[in-house]
Amino acid sequence: MSDVAEAAEEERHAPDEVLLGFTRALRASGVPVTQDRAHGFLAAVAAVGLGDRQATYWAGRATLCGSPDDLARFDQVFAGWFDHRDGLPRARPRETPRPATAHLLPEAETGAAGPGDDEDVQRVAASTSEVLRHRDVATLDSAEKRRLDAMFVRLALRPPTRRTARHRAWHRGDVDASRTLRNSLRRMGEPGEIAWRRRGTRPRRVVLLVDVSGSMSAYADALLRLAHRLTQSARANGGVVETFTVGTRLTHVTRALRSPDADRAIVAAGEVVPDWSGGTRLGETLRVFLDRWGQRGMARGSVVVVFSDGWERGDAALLGEQMARLQRVAHRVVWVNPHRGKAGYAPLQGGVVAALPHCDDFLAGHSLATFADLTEVISRA
């Protein structure tokens, strides 16, 4: 008797219930199993034979998974469910990282943060929100942070555009032979007005690589908030923004940031990123990005923005090499450093020195005002 049938026997459950229970366990582990996928799974198992454990396994991989990450989780849960039914994997088999909402809790020290370098006499005259716009986000207390979060809504990204291979109707330009002929066809073959066309435009993809290592931890929350805003406003204009976090490893967080609600999106992103406040191996994670995504198309012709302070623990030469690769593939590479806007900053860290020759823009990124400048740079790219 097969494992699956045995499991069903001892639990006195119908096989379908065992299988559906498995899909629920899979959903709890983070694989997006929908109702129709679960039904497809049952149909597939019925087609290859319920008694065959191996075939059940393959049928499940084909019907319930949609990406290599899903496959890895599927293997874990499958082993747990059909081998020893008591040792089920708990929901979210990962360590829960630092919750991204930590700043919403009242902090022990009330924000007696000293004024940033970029504040001066105008603070008296200007409205508080204008001051907040220019404050370094790392120096804000929790109440100020909350106010600033609400101000992110004003950031809007017009996606950068590129020319397309396809033509659009236009009132001047090149002769559009097929439309001209079609028009004359309407008039039963009488030649008439000539139709013109020109190349159309499409939004370019924007790729954000956000460093979430220890030295950047004060900015991680604001940067993810920025990424969320860019993702949302680009989508409203038909553009695409893809976001990855880099640190000791590369994590694709685009899906989490698609949620329209900012706080919810950032918590969701926080749950998928395993390496908050770890070390920085920027060169290596950049290479993984290029190998797995960038070179194949994600970075091709797109605007790539790297948010990092360039404190590279790894090999700076590797970082330089990978940045060179990135520049060869991308349309434009922008490096955003939160320390750049501060007095006395000079780009001396090994990582920055190695990377700078391969960047098209080098910008500050420590306050809402600098973020607004960044969106402008991206739009014009």
Binding site: V48, A62, C65, G66, A165, L181, W293
Partner: protein
Amino acid sequence: MDSVADVAARLRATGYLADDELATVVFLASRMQRPLLLEGEPGTGKTALAEALAQTLDLPLVRLQCYEGIDASQALYDWDFPRQILHLRALEAAGSVDSDEAEKSLYDERFLLARPVLAALRQAPAVLLVDEVDRADDEFEAFLLEVLSTWQVTIPEFGTVTAPEPPLVVLTSNRTRELHDALKRRCLYHWIDHPGLDREVEIVRSRAPEVGEQLARQVVSLVQQLRVRDDLLKPPGVAETLDWARALTHLGTTDLDLESAAATLGALLKYREDADRVKAALDRMLSR
């Protein structure tokens, strides 16, 4: 195709070696009439599978190559305007033109240029290969989803074309971006990995019979070593292995040595940096 083993045997007969998991997925795709979504590194045999399927089922293979900006008119149909104009002129020359009649005859099947998706629906049963679907954009994915759900397309001047039976659809993706979940849910998913040493030798022997056993082993073991290195920009796929083995055979090589390997490396590695790195290590790798 009536069982998983049967699928594997039939694919093998065409020279395509599928492992059990892939055979299972193909069997399910034909049994459940669901499209098959293949993801994996370039050169792992995603496109070749569609070709092998068409060959073994003796069905026409209709290929739709996706690219950025592809839209429904390049995937579905278009009208042949110049020929329609000529047709009209011919009608006029022949005498009086009844405009209703003329209009009807204009939008005749003769002047319909069937693009791949329509061609596959009309020729069904057929194998429809949608290659590199990740390079198309969201709108096109939505369009594709519609066709793959209903197996019919509507042409305003002409009517609705419905496939007598759904074509077997194979979509391939190199994962340059995540496909929309709605499309993935329609499909059966399979990730194709690089084969192990013995299987790859088998593939070389079956796809390129002119390559000798000894050379095939040497070539494949070197390629396998290259894939575990992590400093290559583009690790070679099975397609590159085959190219390289064939190139060496053309030069009359039966035993891989440093000289012949270095001379033909261009068939295997497509980046200068990769070639330099491998050349430096070739000596050590061959002596293993």
